[in-house]
């Protein structure tokens, strides 16, 4: 009875319900379509305009914040070098190595590194870390140190002009090179007042063209000397081409090196072995005979250089700095044309824009982008391969540390037992060789990865020389003491690759 009455309003309501549904569907569809359209438009815009110029950049623009206005994506990465992250064998945490591996207190005895040997932090801290280290505070250092811890170009140029080089664009390079000499000879405490920033954009980029460039006088001198030698450098083809020319002008990487070579040379400006030459404390890279550990040792032997006389053994020993560029030069990646930046500043994509990641860091924290571009395998496998190399290097280094320690104590004991200076000359020379080799691998920041076979070869030689020296010392009256290779223990959670988010 009531059916006709109740169905009439329902029939009237149904068209409204359909209408409402159509409206909602239509609106939702339109919004989704517009979102998609907007997304596509954004990607297209990104692809069209990578740089939006806000400020004019010149050679005098040292402050990275100014550059960041034109290049916000690169700047975002650059400032993230403040991040403190740890890998199994390295990272950017300020660990005091003298506490974690006390053997180095003995190895560096009599040298500033026995006071303070902290792990370096990220690029952002390079200047403040140097101003704070006890090595600089307790032992006055020359201004030469500033070369690689501050953005020094402006200061060098100003000092060069002060020293008489004309202040115009044509003499800019000349002024920088002159200023470099002046600042090297200054006390560090004075020189450091000339700079305000750690490594900055202008140190590696031409402000007009953004081309990657090298600016550090120490590197420009060093690479020219290397080019003029006949040491094999198959991984730097532009040097090979220059050698075939008439050599009337010295090798200039900014003119001759390919972009891919420059992506390593910019890092090689500072991540190298060096010494301060003469009274002027001129920062000098020991590349006259080549880039290998042996070549650098030969150079130091030729000029009769030692960093210090060991406090306990009396040996004239060398301190290896951080020969990453040299070690990389001996490895398979360099031979395959892989640059530092390929792994340490891996390419990344933001929307439709591809940039090189200016958050310079260990590739172990960025395995996918750093390695998988060439190595098509899972991150776990890649990490395992790296750790296999690093664990083996660490194991060899443990043994080498123990052997060098035993040698130092044996020479000291032989001296105490009445051995003459003449008799001690041979074991001391062996300590110089053994310690240099150990330090060359230890101070190099890759735990052998940059050139694994070379690292093993060097540590093998170190062990041999150390035990040879110990045998000689025992003959001179030292007791036989053999330390276990676990003078210090291996840090890091075993089997736990410290892979962090991308």
């Amino acid at each position: 009875m009531s059916t006709p009455d109740s169905s009439a309003p329902a029939r009237r309501r149904r068209p409204y319900a359909v209408l409402w549904l159509a409206l909602i569907l239509g609106a939702t569809g339109t919004v989704a379509l517009l979102l998609l359209l907007q997304n596509i438009a954004t990607r297209k815009r990104e692809a069209e305009q990578v740089v939006f110029k806000i400020v004019d950049l010149t050679e005098n623009t040292i402050d990275p914040r100014e550059w960041g206005k034109n290049f916000p994506r690169q700047y975002d990465g650059y400032i993230r070098t403040v991040d403190v992250e740890r890998t199994r064998y390295g990272g950017s945490e300020s660990v005091q190595h003298l506490d974690t591996r006390p053997v180095w207190k003995t190895i560096f005895d009599g040298y500033a590194f026995s006071i303070d040997y902290r792990e370096e932090r990220g690029h952002a801290y390079m200047l403040s870390d140097q101003r704070e280290t006890e090595r600089v505070l307790q032992r006055p250092q020359p201004g030469a140190c500033l070369h690689c811890h501050g953005s020094v170009l402006g200061a060098y140029r100003a000092k060069g002009v002060e020293a008489g080089v004309p202040n115009d664009e044509a003499h800019r390079h000349e002024a920088v090179m002159k200023g470099f000499e002046v600042v090297c000879a200054m006390p560090y405490s004075e020189a450091t007042k000339l700079v305000d920033h750690p490594v900055a954009c202008v140190d590696c980029h031409d402000p007009g063209t953004m081309h990657v460039r090298v600016t550090r006088p120490g590197f420009l001198n060093g690479i020219a000397v290397l080019a003029a030698s006949d040491a094999p450098v198959p991984h730097l083809p532009s040097i090979g081409r220059w050698r075939q020319g008439d050599r009337s002008k010295r090798y200039d990487p900014n003119m001759l090196a390919s972009r891919q070579e420059m992506r390593s040379m910019t890092c090689g400006q500072c991540h190298v072995e060096y010494h301060f030459a003469g009274e002027g404390k001129l920062l000098t890279y020991p590349w006259k005979n080549g880039l290998r550990m042996d070549d650098e040792e030969k150079y130091y032997d030729e000029i009769g250089f030692s960093d210090w006389t060991h406090a306990r053994s009396g040996a004239k020993v060398l301190k290896a700095q951080h020969p990453e560029f040299e070690m990389w030069s001996q490895g398979i990646h360099a031979r395959s044309g892989v640059a530092c930046a390929d792994c340490h500043m891996a390419y990344k994509r933001e929307g439709a824009i591809k940039i090189s990641d200016h958050h310079v860091r260990s590739p172990m924290l960025n395995l996918a982008r750093a390695c998988q571009q060439c190595h098509n395998m899972p991150e776990e496998e890649l990490a395992a391969r790296v750790y296999a190399i690093q664990d083996r290097t660490r194991g060899l280094m443990d043994r080498s540390e123990a052997a060098v320690l035993d040698l130092i104590l044996a020479i000291e004991a032989a001296k105490g037992a009445g051995a003459t200076e003449e008799q001690l000359a041979a074991p001391r020379d062996l300590q110089r060789k053994a310690q240099w080799r150990l330090d060359w691998v230890s101070a190099e920041n890759s735990m052998g990865f940059h050139a694994d076979q070379e690292a093993a070869r060097i540590l093998g030689e170190s062990l041999d020389f150390a035990r040879q020296g110990q045998v000689l010392s025992v003959k001179l009256g030292a007791p036989v003491v053999i330390s276990p290779p676990t003078v210090a223990t291996t840090p890091g959670p075993a089997g736990q690759p410290p892979v962090k988010g991308r």
Partner: protein, 156 residues
């Protein structure tokens, strides 16, 4: 209210809305160069710039003169070709829109199988001695495991 609820007016309104949607869709399709994806032009694969490395590297390889993207990356029967284009098109546009794919970009197992078949399609004579030994499923040879630079040379 009465006049506007007549079926004719409703229909007009609906048609306007539907037309707007169709127009908007069409515009988006053209703006996104949708038509190019139906072609064989290699430039289409680089529309969104994700494939820039692969595109650049392809231009420098031996295969550049003989094969374009589609020669290796889609099957050569009509149905297979467009089914693969639908599959790739869906995955790529979803990935690029939501920006949530693995980087560096990785080829899927099904895409690799398409490539493998296309290697053999051209190099059948040379490869017959090799492929005849791999008849069990899952036991296929993988040409590009060794010939990784054949289609895309060194990308830098």
């Amino acid at each position: 209210m009465g006049k506007f609820t007549t079926p004719a007016a409703l229909l007009v309104a609906l048609c306007v809305i539907a037309g707007a949607l169709v127009g908007l869709s069409g515009f988006t399709f053209v703006y996104a160069k949708g038509g190019s994806y139906l072609s064989n032009d290699p430039a289409a694969c680089n529309n969104c710039h994700i494939m820039r490395d692969q595109f650049d590297a392809w231009q420098k390889t031996s295969h550049h003169a003989y094969a374009t993207c589609n020669d290796c990356h889609v099957p050569h029967d009509v149905l297979g070709k467009y089914m693969t284009k639908i599959d790739h098109g869906y995955r790529h546009s979803r990935g690029f829109t939501f920006q949530d794919f693995h980087e560096p970009i990785r080829i899927t197992a099904s895409s690799l199988s398409v490539v493998e078949h296309n290697c053999v399609r051209c190099h059948e004579t040379a490869a017959s001695e090799i492929t005849m030994h791999a008849l069990r499923p899952g036991d296929e040879t993988n040409c590009v495991h060794c010939h990784a630079g054949a289609g895309h040379g060194a990308s830098r």
